[in-house]
Symmetry: C2
Subunit: 140 residues, 2 copies
Amino acid sequence: MSTENHQYRGQLIERLKAAGVTPTQQRVEIAAILFVRDQHMSADQVLALVNESSPRVSKATVYNTLGLFAKTGLVREVIVDPTKVFYDSNTTAHHHFYNADTGQLMDIDPAAVEIASLPTLPEGTVAEGVDVIIRIRQAH
Amino acid sequence: MSTENHQYRGQLIERLKAAGVTPTQQRVEIAAILFVRDQHMSADQVLALVNESSPRVSKATVYNTLGLFAKTGLVREVIVDPTKVFYDSNTTAHHHFYNADTGQLMDIDPAAVEIASLPTLPEGTVAEGVDVIIRIRQAH
DNA sequence: GGCTTTTTCTAGACTTTGTCTAAAGTTCTT
DNA sequence: AAGAACTTTAGACAAAGTCTAGAAAAAGCC
């Protein structure tokens, strides 16, 4: 393994630990794929990519790990497509364009959407987050 | 069938026709369930309800009909739960609370959410709609 | 280091939502 | 009434995701 890769893995391990996640082989493998850049991936895509290189990771582990990453705030679940959930490696506050024609999910510049007012929540509930999805399609 | 029911069905038929949908037996049956009041239902729930009374409607028809109703603007698809899509019989502009703990979907008073600015769309695309979902959970 | 306990991983069966197919039934047109 | 176009149906199928029970790793302890 190259020095750069080695260092990258070290950073990943720290990141997982900081989130209170034990950095196992498989979790680091998955994190390495997710966290190279800000991106949106489905479990399926992660599974395919992680198994391109040698150390195989099972389907169950990919699902468990993505669920764990979501629960600990390492990634954000984005629910826009009825057939699959996307995992967003950008956890800063932002919203999404979703192109139903292409299936593509894109970040919206946080400065470009401004929500002026929010409603009071129902009794006995607390807010988890606000998702804004702008559904678009190809012109003609 | 009672007079009220008979009149209700007449109204439904007009509503379907106005949307350019041929009012078949099964479609009216499904519309009768959806449009009694503003509500959110999954395909599963519609299927169960429609088959409580005599004229049975098949699973395929329920899915086809809900898809057709969505396409023609009679209902609105709401995608908040990764496992199923909800069909909203209230098609006026409004947003939703989604309680992940209870699975409940609730309307937000349109006046309570104000979006001050929207981003410019990606090249070659047109907007289909803006969904705002406030994810909540039970306090403690 | 060894030994035990706890956590994690795995293959593969299973579940659920939704789609597809091909045949049968309706409806519309003429 | 005959033909064309559309709709419905049962049941097979597909895809995403969950569950289970045993194997493997990791952590805790003497």
